[in-house]
């Protein structure tokens, strides 16, 4: 199986929120970090990353600010809003409940 696993529907939001929860991060780094941390298992379709970021920003879960990079390019950094932080918590709770349930089913049957 050479093909990277497609993201489970709806989990991209969760991954983005979680990734930027530590520090303000730019889009490229978000994509890279998801790939890296998952050990190359999860690959963000890069085409869907930016629309998702813009949607989350428009919905008020995340906010952005501009700063300057080490080689003088303008960089857009995303971070969580207060609402986004709450949302992340509830999404995480949901996720654990779901994956536990799936795990239980798989082990019992």
């Amino acid at each position: 199986l050479g093909k990277p696993t497609d993201l489970v529907q709806g989990t991209l939001d969760l991954l983005i929120l979680k990734t930027i929860s530590l520090e303000p991060t730019n889009g490229w780094a978000i994509a890279k970090r998801i790939v890296q941390v998952s050990g190359d298992v999860l690959r963000v379709q890069q085409g869907s990353l930016y629309p998702a970021l813009h949607r989350l920003e428009h919905q008020g879960w995340i906010k952005s600010e501009w700063s300057e990079s080490e080689n003088h390019r303008r960089v857009k950094l995303y971070s969580l809003t207060a609402a986004g932080r709450k949302r992340l918590q509830s999404e995480l709770d949901n996720w654990y409940r779901l994956s536990n349930a799936i795990g239980l089913v798989i082990e019992m049957v």
């Binding site: 085409g47 629309p51 813009h54 428009h58 008020g60 809003t81």
Partner: protein, 885 residues
């Protein structure tokens, strides 16, 4: 607060669009550059690194577009595009657009004006604290109580936190020597200001302590307006001395700018304590007269007390009073409370009726405007079938097209609404600056406010829905193939929506035209009917002699001198005095009964209006004496009591008996010897021109001692000249006198004719509007059908059709539609005529002449509207038409 972030984002992308675009560009560039750098670090060559990076991220413009979708501005951008496109389309057909906007502006303007009127007069409340708690006391239909009874109610009720009374009347106010002004205002009880909760603008108001001893506190509060006008805004006005009816008063305060009493239509300019009543009206001591009714009473309901409870409480006190004073407070009649502002509710019904009529006529006109526009838009949509077909064929969604067509309508409505608002403001200003030709300060200021603005917006929006949606839906229902081939659709359908619209248009305007003609005819009748006096060739002037201290003998000799001088004026034929001229507001009513019968029970009592007249009055006014004799100079104080009655009085009290020499009493005492009837005059109009015959008594002025006087002079001179002479004659006799209502007798009718006149003006304007709308609507429809049938007509003519045939083929349909419309309109008006009969005088709401005139008028208008397009059809050149396309 998430929505705030969303809003901020949307607004930012909307107004900082360029910045947002640059940001988007930079963001993607940064991403690609980082990927390239990372690839190079991993060992790729630069060119290879870049192409790998671009491959990984995929098509950037598509992603950017998806990002843009999340800005939330798509809606606005489409709107902006639609509006731009709509402006473009509307400018391509300027005539249509202008007609549409004007139509809407007239409709919306008329309705906004009407709404302003209704809002200002019917929905407004007096500027006092918690006006909703305030209630006006009515005893049956009566609006006035007596002062002693008021005091009992004030002190004994358990329902009101305060019960106030006031009396609205004119006084002569002298601010400097030899400068008298007629000013209307109130005698008010001491608790008036504190109960209403009004705070003084300057100085102070009077309280209960200054109203407890008759004649002890000559103080006056003036209105802000009077302060500004007559006192020129004098900052030291408090403490100034003025004379009211010749008695010195001290100004103690100025009322706040908008407070002119609790009445909405008649405004007050002064307030004096009611205990000063006898100083203001010498000889008329109503403070101690229990059987008269002189004052309006209002109360502030205690919290938690319902109107019904308060009414029951008042009734209970009334019955208790009736126990002590027989003939007062008939138990069959009860108290009821109504919101203050229109003399309680006395004026509310007629004004309500007028408002409702105005509103309904206004809505009919607006509906007509909508129908008209819908017709025009339908005609236009037919012309645009090809364009719409192409757009549908190219894949435009129906929703999108609908939205675009509605944007066009919305744009029309917005422009029309804006213009309409302008028209309404103009009309309100015109109305505010207009004054009834009488001396009572009527408050006619119309102030459009935020509520009016909301109304206009609502009207514009709803009209858009009414006139825009149907044609738009019709337009997008187009079948693709025939419309692209430019074939006329629905050729064989017998009834199209447009036909119904034409019929509705004509029917609505027929209704309005008939109504306005009826009212105009009724006004003509009113002007020429028998009023019981002859308005032409007579002038009059009113004065109040008691104001300047004339009393008793001195007064009678002054009046005799006045009449003598007025009769001796050049051109004068007769001169005489009456206390109150008929058809003016003030009237005295008395209970009358025959002396040869027992005193009647309350339910069988008859009342009559009582006038006091001098010798010569009847001839000066032109009132015809039918039987007996006129009042003579020998009918004076101390001589035997006599009276002249009108025919209605004789009919009511004496039926077929000869009334001459019979006696009647104006009291409830069986011992009263009564008054002898010496003459009978024709019955006229006394309170309103629409009234049924009323019993009236004319008494000799010297036997009644009434203080008001209106001098009437019948003259051969033109009215302005005679008026000037009259004014000069009176002021020569006494330059201190205050004259009011000086002018021709015709002018004196202004108030009585006001309802009919207002209705005639309004209906006239609306009727004319309706006709113009119907004409333009018809014109548009016929012109459009000719334009669409150009080809067909060309072929007919080429095949030998004669112009007459072409003409009839075009006009036949219009004629049929017109006839149906007229018939429907006429029948509806016949059915609704009853509603009109209240304001009609001397003309039946089913008057055939009026109907015929209206129908003829409509026919002429319809013909005129069809003429031009029909003529164009006849002149179609077959060769050219067929060569087109």
């Amino acid at each position: 607060m998430r929505w705030l972030a969303t809003l901020r984002n949307t607004l930012r992308s909307l107004f900082l669009r360029r910045q947002a675009e640059a940001d988007l560009e930079d963001e993607f560039r940064d991403h690609v550059e980082r990927e390239v750098e990372s690839n190079i670090r991993a060992g790729m060559r630069p060119a290879e690194a870049r192409s790998a990076a671009l491959r990984l991220i995929g098509p950037i413009p598509v992603q950017q577009e998806e990002c843009r979708d999340w800005r939330g501005t798509a809606f606005f951008e489409t709107c902006a595009r639609d509006v731009r496109y709509a402006i473009h389309t509307l400018r391509r057909t300027p005539l249509f657009s202008l007609a549409a906007i004007l139509t809407l502006a007239l409709g919306i303007g008329a309705n906004t004006t009407v709404f302003t009127f209704v809002e200002n007069i019917l929905l407004r409340q007096p500027p006092v604290r918690a006006p909703e708690q305030l209630a006006f006391l009515h005893w049956g239909e009566d609006v006035s109580l007596s002062y002693p009874n008021y005091i009992e109610f004030r002190d004994r009720n358990r329902a009101f936190s305060g019960l106030i009374a006031c009396r609205y009347q004119p006084v002569s106010m002298s601010i400097q020597a030899r400068e008298n002004y007629l000013v209307w205002g109130y005698d008010a009880t001491g608790n008036y200001f504190e109960t209403l909760g009004v705070k003084p603008w300057l100085g102070r108001f009077f309280g209960p302590a200054e109203d407890d001893k008759p004649g002890a506190n000559p103080v006056v509060v003036i209105s802000h307006r009077l302060w500004q006008s007559r006192f020129v805004g004098d900052p030291n006005v408090v403490g100034r001395k003025v004379k009211i009816n010749g008695y010195p008063f001290t100004v103690i305060g100025v009322a706040p700018p908008h407070f002119r009493g609790t009445e909405l239509i008649v405004a007050a300019d002064y307030w004096v304590p009611m205990s000063m009543e006898l100083q203001i009206e010498p000889g008329h001591d109503f403070l101690h007269s229990r059987y008269s009714s002189n004052i309006w009473t209002m109360g502030r309901l205690k919290p938690g007390i319902a109107r019904a409870q308060a009414e029951a409480n008042l009734d209970q006190i009334a019955q208790e009073i009736a126990g002590r004073y027989p003939n007062l407070f008939d138990p069959k009649i009860g108290f009821h409370l109504s919101p203050p502002g229109l003399i309680g509710k006395a004026l509310r019904r007629p004004i309500n009726g007028f408002g409702v009529a105005l509103m309904s006529i206004g809505s009919i006109v607006l509906l007509l405007a909508c129908v008209n526009l819908a017709g025009m838009l339908l005609a236009r949509a037919a012309g645009r079938r090809r364009e719409i077909g192409i757009r549908l064929a190219l894949g435009a969604s129906k929703g999108r097209l609908l939205r675009q067509l509605m944007t066009e309508s919305m744009l029309l409505a917005a422009s029309g609404g804006l213009l309409g608002l302008g028209i309404a403001f103009g009309a309100c200003r015109l109305f505010s600056s207009w004054r009834l030709n009488i001396d009572i300060p009527f408050e006619t200021a119309l102030q459009p406010d935020a509520l009016v603005l909301c109304f206009t917006i609502a009207a514009a929006l709803s009209t858009t829905l009414v006139f825009g949606l149907m044609p738009a839906l019709q337009a997008i229902r187009t079948d693709l193939i025939p419309s692209l081939k430019d074939a006329p659709a629905n050729r064989f359908r017998r009834w199209s929506v447009r036909d119904v619209i034409v019929i509705a248009q004509i029917a609505l305007s027929v209704i309005l035209v008939i109504c306005s003609l009826l009212v105009v005819r009724s006004l003509q009748n009113a002007l020429s009917m028998n009023l019981g006096f002859e308005p032409p060739n007579a002038v009059s002037a009113s004065l109040d002699l008691s104001l300047q201290g004339y009393d008793g003998k001195r007064r009678f000799s002054f009046e005799a001198e006045l009449i003598a001088r007025a009769s001796a004026l050049p051109g004068s034929q007769w001169a005489g005095i009456i206390n109150n001229f008929p058809l003016r507001i003030a009237q005295d009513n008395e209970t009358v009964s025959r002396t040869d019968r027992p005193v009647p029970k309350p339910s069988e009592r008859r009342s009559a209006i009582v006038y006091s007249i001098s010798p010569g009055y009847l001839r000066a006014a032109g009132t015809r004496l039918l039987l007996g004799r006129d009042i003579g100079s020998h009918d004076r104080e101390g001589a035997s009591a006599v009276a002249i009655v009108n025919q209605a009085f004789a009919d009511v009290l004496f039926q077929k008996e000869n009334p001459l020499g019979k006696r009647f009493r104006m009291s409830l005492s069986a011992a009263d010897p009564g008054i002898e009837i010496v003459g009978v005059v024709e019955t006229g109009k006394y309170q309103s021109i629409g009234e049924d015959p009323r019993p009236v008594v004319f008494r000799p002025i010297e036997q009644t001692g009434r203080k008001e006087a209106t001098l009437v002079v019948r003259t051969a001179l033109p009215a302005p000249q005679a008026t000037e002479l009259l004014r000069k004659t009176i002021l020569d006799l006494d330059p201190e006198l205050t004259l009011f209502n000086v002018g021709s007798l015709k002018d004196q009718l202004a108030l009585a004719l006001f309802p009919a006149r207002a209705a005639a003006i309004v209906l006239g304007i609306f009727g004319f509007l309706a006709m113009v709308l119907a004409a333009t609507g018809l014109f548009a429809v016929v012109a459009n059908s000719v334009a669409r049938r150009t080809r067909e007509i060309g072929i007919r003519m080429a095949l030998g059709g004669r112009p007459g045939q072409v003409l009839s083929s075009i006009l036949k349909r219009t004629l049929a539609l017109g006839t149906i419309g007229v018939a429907i309109g006429a029948f509806v008006t016949l059915g609704a005529g009853r509603l009109l009969s209240a304001i009609l005088y001397g003309v039946s709401p089913r008057d055939p002449v009026t109907y015929a005139t209206a129908i003829l008028l409509m026919a002429v208008v319809a013909l005129l509207a069809c003429w031009n397009p029909a003529a164009r059809a006849v002149h179609i050149d077959p060769a050219r038409t067929l060569r087109e396309d």
